[in-house]
Symmetry: C2
Subunit: 122 residues, 2 copies
DNA sequence: ACTACATATGCACAATTGTTCATATGTTCA
DNA sequence: TGAACATATGAACAATTGTGCATATGTAGT
């Protein structure tokens, strides 16, 4: 900031603090990691999926019970469980006709709690 | 689970473990809190916004520097900064023509770090 | 007042997403 | 094998979202 940093044109954007820009670019994550990270938060950034996850904090549950507890269709729940499964947030076991889902990640509860801290501070 | 729980029809969904369903419903968050929480994670569930936030870990930055650092248009960055501002994740100060943005939340860095833990475990 | 520049914003549009509906799959029991 | 039931899945659709484009706003210097 105290250095002599001339304005330079790069693709129509004016760089004011080239020093900072370079530091940021060097500190940036690998694109793949970034997309995974964003994808993870996108998964828990949906009311239905948060409801499912917090329901599973209480107990492992089968699909129709989750549907009943959330007053939603079996299909909707099933679709969302697939998303959560792909994100490795839930796992399942089959017992006859019934499939029981449960949490597959220790971080999720902590992360949701920290999210709550944020919105409480408003 | 060990109790006698008959199947009951509620709106086309079969309840198998009524006990569990009731426990979950009682433990459920207020709808408003839930929506806020989901909204918060949705905000950090986007690659561009994560890039902006991690850039601000390094230093406060003006809009055009962020645009240059991320190789994106000023408009795109400005739109996303508005989202981050509304979510109280960034704050800004004006210095002449230039507006400097910086982080406005302590939790974000911790939450992003925990998100990274999750995806590393795969 | 006028120009230059940094940033913000409204509109439009393509892309993504969550749910419903219909149906397929898989399992149990008779 | 066939009926009943739990779950999964594909297609369709409305709603939401991220970005580009054009332009407005705000500030500084002349």
């Amino acid at each position: 900031m105290s250095q002599n940093e001339p304005n330079i044109e790069i693709c129509e954007t004016t760089v004011i603090h080239q020093n900072t820009v370079e530091k940021v670019q060097k500190a940036s994550m690998a694109e793949e990691t970034l997309l995974e990270l964003a994808g993870f938060f996108k998964v828990i950034g949906d009311p239905t999926r948060i409801k499912i996850l917090t329901a599973l904090f209480v107990s492992e549950m089968c699909v129709c019970d989750i549907a009943a507890a959330l007053s939603m269709s079996q299909s909707a729940i099933s679709h969302q469980l697939r998303v959560l499964k792909q994100a490795k947030l839930v796992k399942f076991r089959r017992d006859g006709k019934v499939v029981y889902y449960s949490l597959d990640d220790d971080h999720v509860e902590a992360i949701l709690r920290q999210g709550l801290e944020h919105i409480k501070e408003n």
